[in-house]
């Protein structure tokens, strides 16, 4: 199979996956028990007329199949509905939160990948040494640390030490200040949540990269290269690391989804107004339109990331596209 046909096949598969996700998203949230009207407005004075009116407005009085058809139609028309809770269009609620999450998650993920993979290379290369034991055990500890615990620990430390804000995204005073002050304020607020997210995610990259490097080092071509008299560092940079990167690329694509999950806790602990905490709140409120929108966006990200990873994988390892 040529590269072109492979790309088309993967693209078709991604589109199909997206369609299935769209349908599942609708079903998934309606499986949660409870009526949004009752949940949103647990008010002792709520009247029957009010409940009926709100149910009508939310479209909850329509049969489920009709709600599904309207939902599918609206998704593809770009009308993602009105949030039950905020009473504003979902896009207005979702996109600012999404942007805030990307601001936090993107650099944290890049840092985690770079540092994690770098440490993995080091540990794999120096297998059995104190460096390896140190890197591996710290990676396992970081991998196992609960996100909220690490976040609270950092907050406790910085409350005592000072110097960095422990919550929110920007200082109120910076909001109306010059753009530089705003930017700096956001950067300062980012440091602790980004550090938390980076630390809890980098362990997995270290562990995978280390295993990959160790696997590569036992290959015959490495032994042959040594026999030819190639230097260790040249061999590592030119042959071992590029080959060992292949499984890591898959892990990175898969981890995009889990990083969002990790961000839910980080955003909650640091009161970062991102999509993670929005999803968390919306589940309790049964705010179906926001949940549907958020999951569609996340699904889109994950599917796109996997698509890119598949193509990159095939490009880097030509054996894949012929399988």
């Amino acid at each position: 199979m040529g590269m072109g046909r492979y790309v088309i096949k993967r693209a078709a598969s991604s589109v199909l996956t997206f369609f299935v996700t769209v349908a599942l998203t609708f079903v998934l949230f309606r499986l949660l028990p409870g009526n949004p009207v009752q949940l949103l407005f647990r008010n002792p004075e709520l009247t029957q007329a009010e409940i009926r009116e709100l149910s009508t407005q939310f479209g909850l009085n329509k049969p489920l199949w009709l709600q599904f058809i309207l939902y599918i139609r609206n998704v593809f028309l770009g009308n993602w509905g009105i949030s039950f809770y905020y009473r504003s269009p979902v896009t207005e609620v979702l996109f600012p939160a999404l942007l805030n999450s990307v601001i936090l998650i993107l650099p944290a993920t890049v840092l985690a990948i770079v540092i994690g993979a770098g440490l993995g290379v080091l540990a794999g290369w120096k297998r059995g040494s104190y460096t390896d034991v140190g890197v591996l055990s710290s990676s396992l500890v970081l991998y196992a640390i609960p996100t909220f615990w690490l976040g609270i620990l950092l907050i406790m430390i910085f409350v005592k030490v000072g110097g960095l804000p422990v919550s929110g995204m920007v200082s109120i005073t910076a909001v109306n200040g010059p753009p530089l002050q705003y930017l700096v304020s956001v950067l300062r607020h980012m440091i602790l949540p980004m550090l938390t997210l980076t630390l809890v995610t980098l362990g997995q990259f270290t562990i995978i990269m280390r295993s990959s490097i160790i696997g590569e080092l036992t290959e015959d071509y490495v032994v042959a290269a040594y026999s030819k008299g190639l230097t260790s560092s040249w061999l590592l940079r030119k042959h071992v690391v590029p080959n060992a990167l292949l499984p890591t690329i898959s892990i990175i694509a898969i981890s995009i989804g889990t990083v969002v999950a990790g961000a839910v806790l980080t955003e909650t602990v640091f009161s970062w107004p991102g999509v993670g905490s929005l999803i968390y709140d919306s589940i309790f409120r049964r705010d179906y339109p926001v949940l549907q929108g958020a999951f569609l966006i996340i699904a889109l990200f994950v599917i796109a990331a996997n698509f890119v990873a598949d193509i990159m994988y095939a490009y880097l390892d030509p054996r894949v596209k012929y399988s």
Binding site: F41, E50, Q57, R87, G163, V166, S171, L180, F284
Partner: protein, 587 residues
């Protein structure tokens, strides 16, 4: 080659330092400005903000944020007993208590400069009666609202003594000329529901100057506010949203914010009081009641033994509310007897919690014919074991602990309770419409000014998904109707007491405790109105933001450390440059 690498590394270090230095130095300014005497930052960790529309919001933070943004015709004194002027400078209530005339001030203007008139009042009351308005039950007794002239309003209503407390002091007056662009027909439910009311035009002592979803609301003092003696002392109030109360308290400790609301955990009090002399904790009666709802619905499908009053009495004797309040809330809760919390104006102080007496509980069951089974679980005369499911709302881990403690006491009287935590949606699905539950441990919040929480037990509230006990008592319904139309305050109070006594005797709820409101603030601000149910930052306390003022103008504690960090970064930069120059010179 080596020089080139060194140069790159040093350039990177210097660049990092250059970027970080302003980060820290500007940060110093920001932190210090946080404690600027013109800005008060309140951290809020409760249910997130939903909308500014005062007719469709269901969140405390929304009502609290706009309590000094929108005016009402009158406001209530802190003990909720008397009205004081707001947009109406005087009023007359007709002797038959079915009509009242309100005279508006003539110098009140909206924040866009348009005068506030009687037409705004009429329009606002129409909005309040819209089917999706949360105030619709409040204004139900109103027959008509008419503008006699631009500054006089006449209201006709079915006689009720709750006119001021439950209607006039509750309905916000909004600008007709702005709102009618979005809600031309004030009774149109969709239009009212869709209107977000932001940016908003208001007439109160504060205006909403900024709102960023999920982050904060900023209020700014209204320079054109008509009530000169009530002008705020602080220029800006910021309500910053928090997801986690630990982080919020940490932000208070670090000086990032000036106060915390709506409540913090009792465990956080001692560390705040002992470690931070500039932070004051305020404990006031709260607006929250926790209870165990018993399924007594005549057509329900729970364990039928719970319809027997003797069983419910025995269960009540087997709950030590004093110990629960102590263990679960570390004493920051009051054992409950009546439905209305201790800070409510209609709380019945004569009712006392059922005594904790396991012997009496066992005896009550024994005499009612519930014999102990071989497995330690009592069985009814009809052979139904006293084995129940105790659902508990899972949002509060403390309450799950409370449910387990109660189950432990009940076990000692031969009653088995299987504790099952559920989220609100799942619990609602279990209860309504089929009433398949036995017990639900849940809470209610109620306004401290009115006794209307008692409406939860009206028979018709079972089908609306409000009543979780299914209590059905026509005498209760009749007395509630009588209370609403009482002709004297004494009668109204007496009726509210009687209703509470009926619930106390019939036990559709096993009352647990009224939780205190625990808030805290930095003492570099003073004037907070603390002697009010719900604390200084509740949704009924309209005085705090007005009376708030700086106690002194010193900077916060945390900012002292910040210059140190900045200096450190600058020092690293200087040393790096020096090293670089030295190496360069040597080569």
């Amino acid at each position: 080659m080596q020089n080139l690498t060194l140069t790159k590394i040093l350039t990177l270090i210097i660049a990092t330092c250059v970027i970080l230095t302003p980060t820290f130095s500007i940060a110093t300014t920001a932190q210090t400005t946080t404690s600027n005497s013109n800005t008060f930052i309140l951290g809020y960790g409760g249910t997130p903000f939903d909308t500014f529309n005062p007719f469709t919001t269901y969140t405390v933070v929304s009502t609290m944020s706009t309590i000094d943004v929108y005016d009402t015709l009158v406001k209530l004194t802190p003990n909720f007993s008397n009205p004081v002027p707001d947009l109406a400078y005087k009023w007359t209530i007709y002797p038959n208590n079915s009509a009242a005339v309100f005279y508006l001030v003539k110098n009140a203007t909206w924040s866009d400069g348009v005068p506030v008139t009687a037409q705004d009042v009429v329009y606002s009351y129409e909005l309040a009666s819209n089917n999706v308005s949360r105030l619709q039950p409040n204004v139900a007794p109103i027959i008509s609202v008419e503008a006699i002239n631009n500054y006089t309003v006449e209201i006709h209503y079915h006689p009720t003594l709750l006119l001021i407390n439950n209607i006039i002091s509750q309905v916000p007056i909004v600008p007709k000329h702005v709102w009618e662009k979005y809600v031309p027909d004030p009774l149109n439910a969709t239009a009212l529901s869709d209107y977000q009311d932001y940016p908003l035009v208001s007439s109160g002592p504060f205006t909403v100057s900024q709102y960023v979803q999920g982050q904060y609301i900023e209020l700014t003092a209204n320079p054109h506010y008509f009530y000169k003696t009530r002008e705020p002392h602080i220029k800006n109030i910021v309500i910053q949203f928090f997801k986690d109360s630990n982080t919020m308290v940490a932000a208070l400790e670090s000086g990032q914010i000036d106060a915390v609301a709506p409540t913090i955990q009792p465990a956080q009090i001692s560390s705040l009081e002992s470690g931070y002399p500039n932070i004051k904790v305020v404990v006031e009666p709260g607006e929250e009641l926790w209870y165990i709802g018993v399924n007594v619905y005549p057509y329900g499908h729970g364990n039928p033994t719970l319809k027997d009053l003797q069983v419910r009495k025995a269960l009540a004797y087997a709950i030590n509310t004093t110990e629960l309040a102590q263990v679960i809330w570390r004493g920051y809760a009051t054992p409950a007897a009546g439905l209305l919390p201790v800070g409510n104006a209609y709380h019945d102080p004569n009712l006392k919690p059922y005594p904790f007496n396991l012997t009496l509980a066992n005896l009550t069951l024994e005499e009612a014919g519930y014999k102990m089974g071989p497995n330690g679980i009592r069985v009814s005369p009809n052979g139904v074991p006293l084995s129940y499911t105790l659902y508990v709302i899972n949002s509060d881990p403390e309450e799950i602990q409370a449910a387990n403690i109660v189950a432990g006491w009940w076990k000692q009287i031969g009653v088995q309770a299987n504790v099952v935590p559920e989220d609100g949606g799942a619990l609602a699905n279990i209860i309504w419409p089929n009433f398949t539950q036995d017990f639900d441990l849940w809470d209610w919040y109620t306004s401290p000014a009115v006794p209307t929480l008692l409406s939860v037990f009206l028979a018709n509230q079972t089908e609306t998904g409000i009543s979780d006990s299914g209590y059905n008592n026509s005498s209760y319904d009749k007395l509630y109707g009588q209370m609403l139309t009482a002709t004297s305050q004494a009668q109204l109070k007496e009726d509210a007491y009687q209703l509470q006594a009926m619930l106390y005797n019939d036990l559709p709820y096993l009352m647990l405790y009224y939780v205190d409101s625990i808030e805290a603030y930095n003492t570099h601000f003073s004037g907070l109105y603390t002697n009010m149910t719900g604390g200084p930052f509740s949704d009924v306390n309209w005085l705090t933001f007005l009376d708030l003022q700086p106690a002194h103008t010193s900077s916060t504690t945390s900012s002292d450390v910040v210059p140190l960090a900045g200096a450190l970064v600058v020092a690293i930069a200087v040393i790096s440059i020096a090293l670089y120059l030295k190496r360069r010179g040597s080569t």
